[in-house]
């Protein structure tokens, strides 16, 4: 099957993310591309997924593009407007979140994410956003999907600060720390990764159409596990692209 129409890298990523969601799942969503991913899944193969936003918003139907979770545009026509304790306590901490979406300043070879600082935290450094709900979601969503730009400075052997734990330094370290679940997919604008079940090191799953394996590896500061044969990422369908452009993100704010 070949895609005979134009699509952007973000549209490809959105479609790849949507394929990771199964109908009926409970999904913790952050703003940005995960919103497009989730609504795309909901409008295609997974009409019964439940979307949670950490501040206390369930299954909204936004008609305008929001600037953040604190923007009432993203709350429009929600089924529930409640609280952090309700979303992250009675759903996430209770163990009911199937999938959480994460992003960050950088991710490392074992899926640990940094949203807190760059530089040397003992010396000169720049401080950024910190955790919000990311650490919570990373700690016990059944699986997490990270969407991140494919740039070497964002893909490092070890992050400067573990805001949201992945598999820590690999092997059984995550379980030993008392954490459940764990990273399942990393989706960049060049490739998709999962994690080796033994070593828990990041592993190349597929490479996006038009990208070479050399481009993927040259833009990473660590060496992922590379299987002998790496398939090409399935492109979005024309219907997926239409939904994104016409209905989900008509202003192109998230996936433009």
């Amino acid at each position: 099957m070949t895609a005979e129409f134009e699509y952007t890298p973000l549209e490809l990523m959105a479609a790849a993310g949507a394929r990771e969601l199964r109908d009926g799942e409970i999904v913790a969503v952050g703003l940005g591309l995960p919103v497009v991913v989730s609504f795309l899944a909901k409008r295609t193969h997974a009409p019964n997924i439940t979307l949670l936003f950490e501040l206390g918003v369930v299954d909204p139907e936004p008609v305008d593009t929001a600037v953040g979770l604190a923007d009432p545009r993203i709350w429009y026509r929600a089924k529930i407007l409640s609280s952090f304790v309700d979303m992250l306590g009675t759903v996430l901490h209770k163990g009911l979140v199937d999938v959480g979406f994460l992003g960050g300043l950088e991710i490392d070879a074992y899926g640990n994410l940094n949203t807190t600082l760059l530089g040397d935290p003992k010396g000169k450094y720049r401080h950024f956003t910190g955790s919000g709900g990311a650490n919570d979601i990373a700690s016990y969503a059944r699986r997490t999907i990270t969407i991140i730009r494919h740039e070497a400075r964002k893909l490092n052997e070890a992050v400067a600060f573990v805001t949201s734990p992945g598999y820590l330094r690999g092997g059984e370290e995550r379980e030993a720390a008392g954490l459940a679940g764990g990273p399942s997919r990393v989706i960049t604008d060049k490739a998709i990764f999962d994690f080796d079940p033994e070593s828990r090191r990041m592993r190349l799953v597929s490479i996006h159409p038009g990208i070479t394996q050399e481009e993927v590896l040259a833009n990473m500061n660590f060496q992922p596990i590379v299987p002998d044969a790496v398939p090409t990422t399935e492109p979005p369908t024309s219907e997926q692209v239409r939904l994104i452009r016409e209905e989900i993100d008509p202003d192109g704010m998230y996936a433009g």
Binding site: L31, E54, L55, G56, V57, V63, D64, A66, V67, G68, L69, A70, D71, P72, R73, W75, Y76, L81, S82, S83, F84, V85, L88, G89, L92, H93, T115, T116, P121, K124, Y125, R126, H127, F128, T129, G130, S131, G132, G133, A134, N135, D136, S139, Y140, F161, V162, T163, S164, P165, L168, E173, R174, A177, G178, L179, A180
Partner: protein
Amino acid sequence: MTKVATLTDAVASIPDGSHVSLSGFAISRCAMAFAHEVIRQGIKGLTVSQCVTAMEADILVGGGGVERIISGGGSRGRFGQHHCINRGIEQGTLIAEEYSSLSMAFRFLAGALGLPFIPIRSLRGSDILKRLQEVAPSEVAMVDDPFTGDDWLVLKPVVPDVAVIQVQVADEEGNAWILGPRWTNEEQLKASKRGIIITERLVSTDMIRSEPERTVIPGFRVSHVVHLPYAAHPTAVYHAYDFDADHIKHYAQASRTPEGTREYLDRYVYGTRDHEEYLELIGGASHLDGLAADPALGY
């Protein structure tokens, strides 16, 4: 018993060194007029707590009155980072106890319920926990689950001296409704020794009695009720007014440097005697009318 007070009097009730918990989340329901008045009155040495950092915390830090911030992190979303907070952390002038959203929510909940500690699965294995063990070693500990033998991280409750909650609707006793998501505001208020309510609308207690399921702020926890429309400008108040994107961008740009922050404060905070003068300065009624929420959309 009426607790209606001026903003000046409500702010004057807060001694230097108090722990103040704030209602804002990024760019929504931030207690901006309150923060301005705290800066005008020169209150110092504050500890500020909130689940997700917001604009009133950032300007309070910019104003120099904050010694310590306890939060789950945060930014202004597409309007960028909180520059004053981040600068304070980077320069070591602001002590930051950084948690996650749920760990802050659970700490406020524990404070609200009078729990001595609350177990949580977050933070384990992270550098957030490592740093807390350095910055705030008295706030986190490990406990054995007596039922399973598993070890659990437990957090200490947060009990602020005062919660300052920006709401849409309150009566003169302080019974109040919050429209839209409440993030952790209910837990913050109930964890605190007292509350100050800043309300867009002041309604009768009969109105409160007509929908008592909506009363998330009990008047008996409240010391002052300040009736002050547009008190959250330039941030959004659901079903009242939208955020003022241009003004937020202006603040975002100004606050990138200490000088810009000082200029912003000189013009909008020190340069205005009170909230009424501030509202005139940012454009008065005609500008504010443009921000009024659409009743169907809520923004």
